[in-house]
Amino acid sequence: MPDLVWFVTRRLFAALLVMLALSLAVYLVFYAIPADPAHLACGKPCTPDRLEQARHFMQLDQSTLQQYLSFLKGVFAGRTFGDGTAAVHCNAPCFGYSFPLARPVTTLILDRLPVTASIAIGAAILWLLFGVSLGVIAALNRGHFLDRLAIGVALVGVSTPSFLLGLLAILVFGFWLNMVPVNGYVPFTESPVDWAWHLITPWIVLAILQAASYIRLTRSQMLEELNLDYITTARAKGAGESRVVLTHGLRGVLVPVVTLFGLDLGGLLGGAILTEKVFSMQGLGDLLITAVGSLDVAVVVGVTLFSAFLIILANLVVDIVHGVLDPRVSHG
């Protein structure tokens, strides 16, 4: 156990360094684009005087390095734009301030996160169950009809774009069959049933698309696993076929599957851009894509960093879970 604490501490420290480097890179990239956020804020007609005022207020008249340092300071201590009665305060942790939306980026992200998390986690559970079971079935029926069918489903899954499948699902199940709502999001706290009812289509669409890689991974791992000596041992002990597969075979399959799952989920929590757009849900992906359209650089930087943070976090969690799943892994 002390090993694990030490391991997590070290990894968190490393993650912090990565985040720092990443924030600098992201900051430089987005501030290098030839767009002046102050220009958008100053309105029309934009006199040079007002532009200069806006620049100063948004602290864009400072050097890039200085701006970056203010950004970093904001993360830990918060920051204030302007002074006097017009002052805008952004509390720590402040990942920038969106002047077009007149809200701190941190608040924007936290507002949108439940939507994205609802989509991502629900879909993830579905695709994990669906992908792994189909993969196991395919492996057990290697070369036969069910195997071909599962591989076919996987092939369709990887090659179909999410907007196509999403729109088709809306068209068929939403409009033609009128079975499910076609868009919108209802918070879980408002009505859990409506929440799930509105999410069921995006869940299934995302699950079908993502399950493909799980079907293939599970299938190939399971085939490998079933050839191992300890599977023969289990049979020699008198274990039935289902026990051999589920208790002895699946255990080894879980390790790579969990790795993939952690990284996929981490990535998806940063925003399912196309899915959110198709189903008109205001999640992180929607926040990001709208910000890009309106050149709201502060939001773009904030959401990008947040997504990166989720992926780093997912990596860490996967490594810890690895140690739990595979006793041979030591966190030395």
Binding site: L228, D229, Y230, T232, T233, A234, R235, A236, K237, G238, A239, G240, E241, H248, R251, G252, L325, D326, P327, R328
Partner: protein, 337 residues
């Protein structure tokens, strides 16, 4: 060692054939062998890799893949096992007939503790609580000589040394008091000193429980020490069989002589090089007429064409009891190798 032939055999195999269906056509891996083993007795099956010795034992256990076709009789206490439905066979596997594998590291599941794995074997055949099964597992781990068994039961296979791991595998095989134990090269992956410990353990177990032991090995040194009867296999067929004395002192098949000659000995001055049998074993099914050993045999010129045209059957040789060899030479050959 019990006197052979005094007790009725617990396991009998008659005319066992195993054929694998492959893309290149049927491959006969075992081509008609017979053997029997009585309680408390040890039968050693020896032969080179690919001689069909492991396939034979897997066939007895019903552990062959679905592309294997098994014919012949496998009688456990007079009950036919070959062709038994899966459910019935499962009740026998690990319960009446248990197996010890060659490589304990790969034979144990790395994701579960050894105590769990031994307890699982017990629970598969006994309707007991997990706690009871765990206690039984510790009892067995202790019996096979794992120090501090109650604590070590919670360790994973990779946390054990090779010898201790093999003891775990043996504990797992013994947990249901099997009547027949099949040990497939149980000591091949181990150091020489550990080999001796493991063989002694198997011997003790046999003496205590009267288990019938089938030892599959290519180590004649081990065989000489523990076996009562020996079956020498070559290319899926029996080359020679008899008591351990027949095989070691009155070997009648040139292949057996070759194996004995290839065994390094401490009681004769060492030769500059290890003696080997020239050539390589035939691939299964490649020799259809004549004696399968003929291409490598140093005695063919004594017999002549018969070795190429006529397949030798097992015929009695002078020896204790049922000494038989499948060779046209007829009498015990003097050593040529």
């Amino acid at each position: 060692m019990a006197e052979p032939g005094l007790t009725a055999p617990i396991l009998e195999v008659h005319d066992l054939h195993v054929t694998f269906t492959t893309e290149g056509g049927p491959v006969p891996a075992v081509d008609g062998i017979d053997f029997a083993v009585a309680p408390g007795e040890t039968l050693a099956i020896v032969g080179e890799s690919g001689s069909g010795k492991s396939v034979s034992s897997a066939a007895v256990m019903g552990l062959l893949p679905s592309n294997a076709q098994v014919t012949g009789e496998v009688l456990l206490d007079g009950r036919e096992l070959n062709g038994l439905p899966g459910d019935e066979l499962r009740k026998i596997r690990g319960n009446d007939i248990a197996m010890v594998f060659q490589d304990a590291l790969s034979a144990l599941n790395p994701y579960y503790t050894v105590g769990w794995q031994v307890a699982e074997a017990y629970r598969l055949h006994h309707d007991v609580s997990k706690k009871k099964a765990h206690e039984r597992a510790i009892e067995l781990l202790d019996k096979v000589g794992i120090p501090d068994a109650s604590r070590r039961a919670d360790s994973y296979p990779h946390e054990f040394s090779g010898g201790m791991r093999q003891r775990v595998v043996i504990a797992m095989a013994l947990v249901n008091d099997p009547r027949v134990l099949i040990a497939d090269e149980p000591t091949t992956a181990l150091d020489v000193t550990v080999q001796a410990q493991i063989m002694r353990l198997l011997d003790d177990v046999q003496a205590e429980f009267g288990t019938a032991l089938i030892l599959i090995s290519h180590d004649l040194g081990v065989v000489a020490e523990v076996a009562d009867d020996v079956l020498v296999m070559y290319a899926g067929r029996a080359a020679e069989r008899g008591t351990v004395r027949d095989i070691f002192f009155r070997a009648a098949h040139p292949y057996t002589l070759g194996l004995l000659g290839a065994m390094p000995r401490v009681d004769v001055p060492p030769k500059p090089r290890l003696t080997t049998i020239p050539g390589t074993p035939p691939t299964p099914g490649s020799i259809t007429t004549g004696c399968p050993f003929q291409p490598r045999c140093a005695y063919t010129h004594r017999v002549g064409e018969r070795c190429i045209t006529e397949r030798p059957e097992l015929t009695p040789r002078p020896g204790q009891g049922d000494h038989e060899a499948a060779c046209h030479l007829g009498r015990r050959p003097e050593v040529l190798l």
